[in-house]
């Protein structure tokens, strides 16, 4: 029997993206969040006296890795070493071996997978464990690295470590693509995947798991984050998700039906935030739905920024910290003028090409464009919604 932790995508010391105007104390906390999450994992490993820890790629956040991140990682590995815990790690697309960055020496309990698929043979608890995997030699690995993995033949436990994406999944860039079947064909006891930040169990037996990242780094990475605690014995496998995150990102939708007065807004929001808070520190996007006409009328009286400021202020002293990133409400069912209808219809009729023309103004300016999100990443649906909301908001402003 072997017990190990499966984690991936630590992205140590990477900044939290997509948040602005954070107060200083929050910046500090958020900046430390990857360290703290990592620390939580190491502490868990030591407390639970697991046999080893697998980290499947993207330990650091690429070119922007700080020395501190590496020092922190080495410290963590040393802590494991003291507790007599092995670690097997691989580097992913973000921290590939081709990068010209300072590399710290790792303690002897750490095995690093090389830039070609290789098998590490470990003896733990009278078990022989074979760990197959590789580290990215460069940023982009488009070929099917899975083909290089050997089929399990020897007696013992076989674990595959693979940092990559499922073939056919268009939502992410293609990295070392694989199919579920191709993994199953290898007859391993456990597939430890990395790269995708969203936690997913692709297959139950044998388990094929993306543990997700250990700490949310973006508003789109929502919910609890952490790693898997895995017990593996022969063909039996038990795994359990363990939270490691320090701050999580959440979207909360609230029913605004009862809202009549301003304090109803704060009360409903506070209630929702308390629920979030009970699960620890978080950054929250609030959305209020089902506002009555009266509710809308109330909402309109105050600008969204003022509502946000009000909520932040009323929540400032609560612990653990829950930061309200935004507060929105569904557009009111309002009677539109013909003209407005025509404008909205027109916006709906814009095709992608037209959108590109419409949004292209800033992208044509050299000194601006490099700070803008890549045009490809802009979701037209979202943009369309925002444009419409902007229009309606302006029209509402009498």
């Amino acid at each position: 029997m072997v017990r190990f932790l499966h984690a991936a995508d630590l992205h140590l010391d990477s900044p939290f993206k997509g948040l602005s105007n954070l107060p200083d104390h929050l910046v500090k906390m958020i900046r430390n969040s990857t360290f703290e999450a990592f620390n939580n994992m190491i502490t868990y490993a030591i407390e639970q006296q697991v046999d080893m820890v697998l980290i499947v790629g993207d330990i650091y956040d690429g070119e922007n890795r700080s020395l501190q991140a590496q020092k922190y990682f080495v410290d963590g590995m040393q802590r494991l070493q003291k507790a007599n815990i092995r670690a097997v790690i691989s580097y992913g697309n973000h921290d590939h071996l081709g990068g010209k960055w300072v590399r710290f020496n790792l303690p002897s309990n750490v095995d690093v997978l090389g830039n070609e698929v290789e098998t590490k043979k470990l003896h733990i608890n009278d078990e022989v464990i074979y760990i197959h995997g590789f580290s990215y030699p460069e940023r982009h690995i488009k070929q099917k690295m899975i083909d290089e993995y050997p089929v399990a033949q020897q007696n013992g436990l076989h674990i595959g470590m693979l940092h990559g994406s499922l073939a056919g999944d268009e939502s992410h860039d293609v990295y070392a693509p694989f199919t579920k079947q191709s993994l199953l064909n290898k007859k391993y006891h456990y597939w430890a995947l990395g790269h995708i930040h969203k936690r997913q169990i692709l297959h139950e037996t044998p388990p094929i798991i993306y543990p997700g990242n250990i700490q949310s780094r973006h508003r789109k990475e929502q919910g609890e984050k952490g790693f898997y605690d895995v017990h593996l014995q022969d063909d039996e496998c038990h795994y359990q998700f363990i939270r490691a995150d320090v701050v999580r990102y959440e979207q909360v939708v609230m029913d605004g039906t009862p809202i009549r007065y301003a304090n109803d807004v704060t009360a409903i929001c506070h209630k929702a935030l308390q629920t979030v808070r009970s699960q620890g520190a978080a950054i929250v996007e609030l959305r209020i739905t089902n506002l009555t006409e009266e509710g809308h009328a109330l909402w309109q009286q105050t600008s969204p920024m003022e509502w946000l400021a009000l909520l932040r202020e009323s929540e400032a002293d609560e612990t653990p910290m829950v930061w309200v990133a935004s507060v929105t409400c569904d557009a009111p069912k309002e009677a539109l003028t013909k003209a407005s209808e025509q404008v909205l219809a027109l916006i709906d009729d814009w095709d992608e090409e037209r959108w590109q023309e419409v949004l292209g103004e800033l992208y044509q300016q050299a000194n601006v464009t490099r700070f803008l999100p890549q045009y490809q990443t802009i979701q037209i649906d979202e943009m369309k919604a925002q444009v419409k909301e902007t229009f309606l908001q302006t029209m509402r402003n009498k």
Binding site: V358, L362, V368, M395
Partner: protein, 887 residues
């Protein structure tokens, strides 16, 4: 669609009212305050709901609590006759019930469908006209007017125009291509600055590996330098030691050379000590012998001395005290004898005895105590008689004086008078004393009674006695008798006294004769001095004693003189020289003292010579022994006596050298000195110090560099700035992205609005302009014949007087053009047959224009229901009018 009937339950001032409408023109006429506007609002409120609190609209809820709301019955092309009822309900906007022709009941959601999806605003914008609206045309700019006209057919276009300008302004605040202050421009600057910072930090991080390697190199270098330094230090220490021990090494070398030159002797310190000692002893002893012999010769002279003579002299000298005692005894005796003789002579002279025989006779008289007693008795008797005679003589004298006194008082009257006075005086005195005594008696008795004291009582008695005495005294006889008696008595006594004195003188003579008789026995001459007489016996006795003493002393004196002479003779014999008597003992003492000195020397010399002889014998024996040992020792050491001390000296020298060599050996720690040349050593030391200093400098530099590197590395690895900068950058970037998206959205909206306008113009304009020209021509009574849009996109009119921009027209004409356009646009909306609602819009028109307008409205009402509110009854036919406020 047309309105068939209005049923008002309660709305504003209207209550329980039923109004039926025709399908064409419906003119509601009423004075001001008749409720025209209320009725208009009733239609709108039933369609679109009662106002909520937040809407700034007038509330028409009946104040008296009457049922709120009402119904509107309409004829709908699709749904037939329907009734829309709105009353007060759970919602503020009221509860809606729609009853369709077939009896179906629908809720509010169905209302929008009935009203062709037109909301209140769009209904008002397209189908409602009011005078205020037309008045407002005047104030619009050319462009705005065009927009309004253009948009008149499409609801909310004017809002779009306003929206465009708002968005433009917002977008400008966010970003300007070459701006500095707009939000995004500022954010861009911040981002660039952050980017710059991040790049710097990144370079620092890249530098880390290089610096770490450099640290490794330097650390190794320092380690090598430390080894070198240790070697240099050891060498330097060795040479320093050599330098320190150099004098010793040189001395050692010299001493060894010296030692080789000297002969070796097998001596011990004991040998030398003993030999020298013995030699010195022999020498000392020989010297001693010589001294002793000389001393003996000198001492021998002291041996000539007569011991017997010295002994006799000493014996005589012992009698010196006897001599002196005798001498002083002789002198004293001589003096005493002389004194005694003189005293005796004096006593004899006192007694008047001068010649020797008489003296001898006196001396032989019996002067016993018995004789003296007898003589003394005789003397006392004589004296007693003398005293009595003397006393009687005195008394006789006193009596004689008293008598004279008494005889003197008896003579004269004056004397008597004086006596009487004296008596009276005395009596008064006595009386006073009597009184005092009586008073005192009484006082003392009282006191004794009080104190019970015997003494006071006695005092009292005494006082009584005094009183009684004085009383008795007075009783005496008269003074003259008294004096006579007294004189007589005194004369008698005087005679008696004289007789007694004669007898006593007789007796006195008897005693005197007896006394003289006794005295005759001692003295040839009689004596009268009674004082001398009393001492006579004492004196005689003393004279006799002195004569006795004198005799004894004379005998002693002779004896002593005899003894002295004998002593002098003996001394003369012993000292064999003539003596002066007084100084004989001094001479003897001088002689004895001299002999005593000689005697001491004699005894000493005798003892000394004996001791010297013994010592001499001992010394010569010892010398013989010593000389024997010396000879033996020299033989053993194979030395001549005269060589011995030189040998000792050499031996000492070698010993010293050996000791020194041993000492040096102890101090020298260097086994094989590379050199003994001081200069070479000094040079080597300097060279080593120089090398070491250079090495130290190099090491200092290396250590400093190492420390700096360590600090830098430590600082860099713990520097959170990079992570913080990245987070800051992301923060700013997110803010920027937000702004950029907002900017893009605003731009997109502007574009969309722009496009809408273009579309409106392009699609609807031709038909609208055709109808509008027709209406405008009619309304202006063919004064203007064309309404069109010029190449610039602005409206223009054309008439008999030429072409004009809209803004160039008179107000009324402008309004006519606007109304014409509005009607034309409404025409295009055939799919929404909602009625026109007009609230006296043309009240400002002149009669001619007004008539034209009414005519056009009548015409239009053929196709679309018109609800017209007015306060002017002229120009309307009674059939057309529904009068308000009259029922």
């Amino acid at each position: 669609m047309q309105l068939l009937a209005l049923t008002i339950y309660g709305f504003g001032k209207h209550q329980d009212k039923q109004i039926t409408l025709t399908d064409g023109l419906n003119v509601f006429y009423g004075e001001n305050e008749a409720g025209k506007t209320t009725l208009q609002q009733f239609i709108l409120h039933i369609f679109y709901g009662f106002p909520t609190k937040n809407q700034k609209q007038q509330n028409y809820e009946p104040k008296n609590g009457h049922k709120y709301g009402g119904t509107i019955t309409i004829k709908h092309p699709d749904y037939g006759v329907c009734t829309i009822a709105r009353v007060r309900g759970t919602k503020v906007t009221g509860d809606v019930t729609i009853t369709l022709q077939d009896g179906t009941i629908c809720d509010e959601d169905f209302l929008a469908q009935l009203l062709y999806g037109y909301n209140k605003a769009s209904l008002l914008a397209i189908f409602a006209f009011s005078s205020q609206e037309l008045q407002g045309i005047e104030a619009l700019s050319e462009e705005a007017l065009t927009q309004v006209l253009l948009a008149s057919g499409t609801t909310g276009v004017s809002q779009l125009t306003r929206a465009t300008s708002i968005l433009e302004k917002q977008a400008q605040e966010r970003y300007k291509k070459s701006g500095k202050t707009p939000i995004m421009n500022r954010q861009l600057d911040q981002l660039k600055e952050l980017e710059q910072n991040i790049k710097q930090y990144k370079r620092k991080i890249e530098q880390y590996a290089t610096e770490e390697a450099q640290l490794q190199v330097i650390s190794e270098e320092i380690a090598t330098q430390q080894v070198t330094k240790q070697t240099l230090q050891r060498q330097w220490q060795d040479y320093t030691l050599l330098q320190q021990q150099l004098p010793l090494l040189i001395e050692q070398q010299k001493l060894q050379q010296n030692l080789e030159k000297l002969p070796q002797y097998d001596f011990t310190l004991e040998d030398e000590k003993r030999y020298t000692h013995i030699r010195d002893d022999v020498f000392t002893m020989q010297l001693r012998i010589k001294q002793l012999q000389e001393e003996r010769a000198i001492k021998s002279t002291d041996l000539q001395f007569d011991e017997d003579l010295y002994e006799r002299a000493k014996e005589l000298l012992a009698k010196e005290s006897t001599w002196h005692q005798n001498t002083s005894a002789i002198t004293r005796l001589e003096e005493e004898i002389y004194t005694l003789e003189r005293e005796n002579a004096k006593q004899f002279r006192l007694l008047g005895i001068q010649d020797f025989d008489t003296q001898q006779q006196l001396l032989s008289q019996n002067v016993s105590l018995q004789q003296e007693e007898q003589f003394s008795q005789m003397l006392q008797d004589v004296k007693k008689v003398d005293d009595q005679v003397s006393l009687k003589l005195h008394s006789l004298n006193d009596l004689h004086k008293e008598l004279e006194k008494l005889e003197a008082t008896t003579d004269t009257e004056g004397i008597r008078k004086r006596r009487n006075q004296e008596r009276e005086q005395r009596t008064r005195q006595i009386q006073f004393v009597k009184f005092v005594a009586a008073f005192g008696a009484i006082l003392f008795f009282i006191m004794s009674a009080l104190w019970q004291n015997i003494f006071t009582f006695i005092a009292g008695v005494a006082c009584v006695l005094v009183f009684i005495y004085l009383f008795l005294q007075r009783l005496k006889a008269t003074p003259e008798q008294f004096v006579e008696q007294q004189i007589e008595m005194t004369k008698q006594r005087y005679v008696n006294m004289q007789e007694e004195i004669k007898q006593l003188e007789q007796q006195q003579l008897t005693y005197e004769n007896a006394l003289q008789e006794v005295l005759q026995r001692f003295f040839i001459t009689p004596i009268t001095d009674r004082g001398l007489m009393s001492d006579l016996f004492k004196r005689v006795r003393a004279l006799q004693e002195a004569a006795e003493t004198l005799h004894t002393k004379d005998i002693w004196l002779a004896q002593k003189r005899q003894e002295q002479a004998q002593l002098i003779a003996e001394i003369e014999e012993v000292i064999d020289q003539a003596l002066i008597k007084e100084y004989s003992y001094a001479q003897l003492r001088t002689q004895v003292e001299e002999w005593q000195r000689k005697y001491v020397l004699f005894t000493e010399a005798k003892a000394r010579i004996k001791a010297i002889d013994q010592e001499l014998e001992q010394l010569s024996q010892t010398i013989t022994d010593h000389e024997a040992w010396q000879r033996e020792w020299l033989r053993m050491k194979q030395l001549n006596a005269d060589e011995v001390f030189q040998a000792f000296e050499i031996w000492h020298k070698t010993e010293q050298i050996n000791t020194r060599l041993f000492e040096i050996d102890q101090q020298i720690t260097i086994t094989e000195p590379p050199t003994l040349d001081y200069v070479t050593i000094q040079a080597k030391l300097e060279q080593l110090a120089e090398e070491q200093a250079q090495l130290d400098d190099a090491m200092q530099v290396a250590l400093e560099e190492q420390a700096q590197l360590k600090i830098w590395l430590e600082h860099t690895i713990n520097d959170e700035t990079y992570g913080e900068l990245l987070q800051q950058y992301e923060d700013k970037l997110a803010a920027f992205t937000e702004q950029a998206k907002a900017y893009m959205a605003e731009r997109a909206v502007q574009i969309a609005i722009e496009e809408t306008f273009t579309k409106l113009r392009e699609e609807k304009l031709p038909q609208v302009l055709r109808d509008a020209t027709k209406y405008f021509t009619y309304l202006t009574n063919t004064q203007y014949t064309k309404l069109f849009v010029n190449n610039s996109g602005y409206f223009e009119v054309e008439g008999a007087h030429g072409r004009f921009h809209m803004s160039e027209l008179s107000q009324a004409t402008k309004q006519q053009a606007y109304v014409a356009l509005r009607f034309a646009l409404a025409n295009t909306l055939t799919n929404a047959p909602l009625p026109f609602i007009m609230d006296d819009p043309f009240v400002h028109f002149d009669r001619n224009r007004y008539e034209h307008m009414l005519q056009l409205i009548r015409e239009l009402s053929q196709k679309r229901q018109v609800i017209y509110f007015t306060c002017q009854s002229t120009s309307w036919q009674d059939t057309e009018m529904i009068k308000l406020g009259e029922e």
